[in-house]
């Protein structure tokens, strides 16, 4: 986790501003929404790069960003060359909903994912085949709720789609911590800058 939060935040800030500056040449020409997009993207990428791809969500962020060809320049500038997690992610894989992470584990993950889906399907089929009336309604309701929310959480945490519960929670933990850092950085900047309008 974060051992020195302030240093981490400084790192994020640096990287972010670096990325912003790399686009600043065309800053005035961009619309507000474009600017916003750039700001957010660079912030996300800064976060992910500081995390250095050791977590799935960071890799997923990078991969999602790299899917958009417009961002590639920014990504390359921000992340620099030689990021091994980057290149395999940039290769889009057909038949998968979203990126899974570093290339060297992608294939196995994909296999695991598909096998999990098959197992789930079988279980569902088996369950629907004339089950005895549920005795424990409360437990089943609770399970359903938990499942729903787990799915929601998977949608929120980048790269959390094909993860099991345990690692999902770990990812969420990490993601929350680093997300907070990102918010802090952005807020510090927003706070310190003069509030001048420019549209």
């Amino acid at each position: 986790m974060m051992h020195n939060p302030s240093k981490v935040r400084q790192k994020i800030m640096k990287k972010w501003i670096m990325g912003l500056r790399s686009c600043s040449s065309s800053h005035e020409n961009l619309s507000l929404s474009e600017r916003r997009w750039i700001i957010k993207l660079s912030a996300d990428l800064a976060l992910a790069s500081v995390r250095n791809g050791s977590r799935r969500w960071s890799r997923a962020i990078i991969e999602e960003a790299s899917r958009n060809p417009d961002n590639k320049g920014l990504i390359q500038r921000m992340l620099g060359s030689g990021c091994d997690y980057r290149s395999p992610c940039l290769i889009p894989r057909e038949g998968r909903s979203d990126g899974n992470g570093a290339g060297h584990v992608t294939k196995s993950m994909w296999v695991a994912t598909s096998s999990k889906k098959i197992v789930k399907r079988c279980r569902r089929a088996r369950r629907s085949n004339g089950r005895a009336p549920r005795r424990n309604e409360a437990a089943s309701i609770a399970k359903r709720l938990v499942k729903k929310r787990t799915q929601l959480l998977k949608d929120f945490v980048p790269g959390g789609q094909d993860m099991d519960d345990v690692s999902l929670i770990e990812e969420t933990l990490d993601y929350i911590v680093w997300l907070r850092a990102q918010v802090d950085v952005m807020r510090a900047l927003a706070h310190s800058l003069p509030a001048t309008t420019s549209i």
Binding site: S24, L153, T172, D184, S192, A195
Partner: protein
Amino acid sequence: MESDEKGRIDQEEMNKDAANHNSAHAWSNLTGTSLNLAGPCYSMPSSRGDFMGDGAYSSSALMVDSFGRELWDRASDPSLENLGCCEVSGHSHNNSSLSETSGIRRIGTAAFRTNVGWNPRSPMLNSALYAPNALNIPPGSFCLPQFPSDSGFIERAARFSCFNGGNFTSLPNPSAIFPSAGCYPVGPGLLAAPSEIFRSNFMKLGSNLNVESTEDVDMLASKQDTFQGCPQKNSLKSESETVMRCDDGTEQAAGLSSNDSDGGNYSGNHGGQADTSIADSAGGEDSLKEVSIGKRKRSSVMEAGSNKANVAVGIMKNDSEYQKKVEQSPSAGPSKGTGKNNKQETPTSDPLKGDYIHIRARRGQATNSHSLAERVRREKISERMKLLQDLVPGCSKVTGKAVMLDEIINYVQSLQRQVEFLSMKLATVNPRLDGNIERLLAKEQRAGPSTLGTSPEIQMGYHQMNIVPPGLVPPDALGRAILGVQTAPLSAGVREPQVPHSWEDELHNVVHMGFSCNIAAPRGQESLPPDNMKVEL
């Protein structure tokens, strides 16, 4: 007869009033009183022995129990011809020293003056006299003891075996009486002979254990002197835990008078075993009711008793051998999860484990490999949920996965919305971004490591958000977007103040920084030497 019955009724009442007590008291009482019995009792053991020779351990245990009960009955009222024991179970937990002492007196009036004589001598028995309960058994047809569980008997036996060492010598012909009882009064003071006898009896008893608990037999037998390989990890694990606890609580158990009544609480006595023991004592009490599990528990408790007997002999030896056993029995597949070894007992088991991570089945829980893995997984998840609880503000009181997940989702959502909002806010800032940014960075770097804070910033930020955006709001389309983004952080802001207060120290710096930055900006942008900035950036 009537007086006796009256006495018994009074005893009943007193026992009912008394709090639940150690069933070991009962057992020690039982053995104490029974041991003093003369000949008529001896015939029973033989018959019991035959019974014990039967296959089912449960039945044998029952018989042992009933045997004990019968002895009680006989002891309580020598005039009684039949053996009534049905109500004994009801009183097994109603001991109190008060009733016991009075019971002693009453017993003494019967045929137990001798008992009274030596009972007070033994500190254990003094506090643990069970005889009054025996007195309360109305004369009736003999029935099998209706224990809450069979294992309760074993636990009492085990306890008694450990605690009655002081009386051991005074008891006549203990071996004659307990060849098949399997429970031997083995006290700390007299470990040599009693332990041997105990072991012999134990072995005998162990041999009587049935198919279901063959592994227990091996466990028990081997536990005594030489350890054999325990084929079944399941029973091993469940017993091992109880064994562990027994060892830990030997000293505690020695002070019998204050012990709990139940065998279930038996393990709970051990202070060293934080949550597992508590959980298991709670679960153990429930499981005591189940015979099938009770068998294993019984054997485990008996083993616990033997373990106590061996305390002075050599507990380390037990530990090492036990560890070997742990190693031999393969756990549920390789590295299924965290090894929940008893830290006190098997500190050296980790290097012995090899590739396997040993997961111990807790007492009263299924020991199927699947369920073990399930449990490990569940525990992992709950661990992490606890971590998340600390992280997400306002979740300390929340229990349950669903609600926790809800909170987590909300928090993540709010954080993401904040990011979006801030990026939008920054986007509205003038394109003189670079200069300001550099200045900010430089100032921050100069200010020191802890420059960024949260909570005050958040509050400040929210205030500013309230004030500034209206000023910033450009065309309506964008304004709608800003407002839309704004509402989210505001709702999330309610939670934000709970964000870690450790950052509050930095907040003053940051706020100051921010303000100074804002103030400095209009004054002049040449305040910082350019090379300084270059170096820093």
